[in-house]
């Protein structure tokens, strides 16, 4: 890992520690410091991606690179959202997730062995579009999942009448539900396009190279898409929201995470 990457990881890690310290009550007022460090981490990470691009490593040229881009997007989306909403609790989940993703991406064997990712022109425009859309979709769904987790914790505390814990987390249930729904609404069309472009790409590769095998991750991806489609239709049609919506969001994201894990294991390890 480059020095720039390490610095980004360091800033993210301290920010994650501050957010965690804030919600467990160890350190009051750590949220602002956490947000400042997260901003530093996002800026360094952006610079890191830029430098790698300059040296010929495109952020969509491999699964680890795409994971690093997804980590950057999660961090940036959380940072921007936290400027408007009080999302301390979400920070305690989102920022550690960013740290984990970037570490996985940068310490993956392909990365540590110094192997060169696939040159982008070889992936083709369709492949590039698929990877970029899938990365965006995963990042947005990951953020929705973070909000769903916070919703479930918040719901439990409110049911148990534990106001202190609720106040420490700070985001009203309805706001969390609305934000998570917005994320799913944005992520779903992006993910749909990713699946469509991916299907066409795979079909073309099959015709060109005779690699038409139906892999498990394709099925999981379709299953994930169905889960999010059900969530959106149920919300609009039957008014599904709150706990049920939170669980379904988590289920959908679980599928997304499985797809990413399958790609990661297949291509990076």
């Amino acid at each position: 890992m480059s020095t720039l990457t390490w610095h980004a990881v360091g800033a993210y890690a301290i920010a994650a520690a501050l957010y965690l310290a804030h919600i467990v009550g160890l350190r009051r007022g750590a949220e602002n410091a956490g947000r400042a460090l997260l901003a530093v981490g996002v800026a360094l990470h952006f610079a890191d991606i830029g430098v790698r691009c300059y040296h010929g490593t495109n952020p969509i040229s491999s699964t680890p690179e795409a994971m690093s881009l997804a980590a950057f997007l999660i961090g940036a989306v959380f940072l921007l959202t936290s400027l408007r909403y009080q999302l301390t609790a979400a920070g305690a989940f989102a920022v550690p997730a960013v740290v984990a993703l970037i570490l996985l991406a940068r310490l993956a064997p392909m990365e540590t062995a110094g192997l060169t990712p696939v040159p982008v022109p070889e992936i083709g425009r369709l492949g590039q579009a698929h990877i970029l859309l899938a990365t965006l979709g995963v990042a947005v769904f990951a953020f929705a999942a973070v909000l769903a987790i916070v919703y479930l914790f918040q719901d439990r505390s409110l049911k148990r009448k534990q106001l202190d814990r609720v106040v420490a987390r700070g985001t009203p249930l309805e706001t969390l539900d609305r934000l998570a729904h917005r994320c799913v609404s944005i992520g779903f069309p992006v993910f749909t396009l990713a699946i469509v472009t991916g299907a066409i790409w795979v079909a073309r590769l099959g015709l060109l190279h005779g690699r038409g095998t139906l892999r498990p991750e394709y099925l999981i991806a379709v299953g994930t898409w169905i889960a999010f489609a059900v969530l959106i239709i149920a919300r609009v049609g039957a008014g599904w929201r709150g706990r049920r919506a939170a669980w379904l969001t988590l289920g959908g994201f679980g599928g997304t995470a499985l797809v990413v894990a399958a790609y990661f294991i297949r291509h990076a390890v």
């Binding site: 009051r28 007022g29 918040q154 409110l158 049911k159 009448k161 106001l163 202190d164 609720v166 106040v167 009203p172 249930l173 309805e174 706001t175 539900d177 039957a238 008014g239 599904w240 929201r241 709150g242 706990r243 049920r244 919506a245």
Partner: protein, 442 residues
Amino acid sequence: MGGANIDLLLVGVSHKTAPVAVRERLAVEPDAIPAALAELTGLAAVREAAMISTCNRVELYVAADDADRAAAGLGEVLARRAGVAVADLAEHLYQHRDAGAVRHLFRVASSLDSLVVGEPQILGQTKQAYDAAVQNGTAGSVLRTCFEEGAFRVARRVRRETAIARNPVSVSSVAVEFARQVVGDFAKKRVLIVGAGKMSELAARTLRTHGATLTVINRTRARAEEMAPRFGAEVADWNDLPGALTAADIVIASTGAQRPVLSLDLIKQVRKQRRGRPLCLIDIGVPRDVEPEAGKVADIYLYDIDALQAQASEHRAEREEEAAEAEAVVEEELARFVKRWRSRQLGPMVSALQAHFHGIARAEVQRVSGGVDEKERKARLDMAESLIKKLLHFPMTAMREADPDEVLSMVQAVQRLFSLSPMAAVAEPEQAPAGNKKATGS
């Protein structure tokens, strides 16, 4: 920390020393403040004056040349106001001077001396008191330093660094906070008040101030119609209770009925209609108005009076714990304040002493430098000034590091030994507000 030579004097009464019967007679209405301040600065020994008058305290903060004389005068003013003899009021009065008065002001502004520790209003009231003194020309450099550079800064730090004001401590504010955590901002939310009793009205007023839209529903419609206009609420018919519950985001129930009016079956039925929207039920009725099992239904959040009171008590205990931390902040800031104050006292005297010696040096160099060239004259002047700097180094250091109790006597001794101007040595460098003769230290 006594002996810091801060000529601040405080005389007052508070909820800790005087019953409401005394406090209400001493309280000053906002439009009577200018006259009251003028009366205070009209006293012989008083240069500056500010007055904090709330339902829990009446405190007079003055900068005084003669603290004993000023304290006697302030006691007479208060006794006259209360319509009692000075001796009768004396048992309720407290007074603090010097750093003790500053400490008290810091504690008051930080809400450590309040009836409900950590309540937020007192800082605003302290600011209003100081603003009134500034506007009426009765605040000078002493009050400005103590309030602006001291009390307000300490209060902000206490709020920032301790959890003294973090959690609500009254039942109504706990209820509001629970509701806020469920439904978020109240601005576009609908609140249904079930029952038209006194408790309902109190809760409704609280939520109204937060911008919620209110609807009142009561078995006797006439009572709801009587109550609703007082805070701009709509009235719903009792027969439409399920519909009103479906439309509401927050329900405050306090009917006085002997059996729950919001049954589990009704809540389940309403929940289906709400299509997953969360509903916050605040049950402040005794006996309870909401069947307790309703709280177990998904998306329904029920808080009864016991839950609210338990939470409020817990928060009060937390505030007491946080108060110890806040007291430490006050002491730390007080020590810093006193140090700054002393260095300000010493500043003019140090300057005067240095100017005195350097003036002598320049005069003597000038006297013995007739006929020498400019370079030689400058060399002699540099040597003389260096000599003076070294000679003054130890006395200056000793004064800066002196015990607070010794500072004034040292300043006076230096003034006398070197015939320095007393005003130049002790006056504050900054000027009091224009147009305030009393506050200029004259």
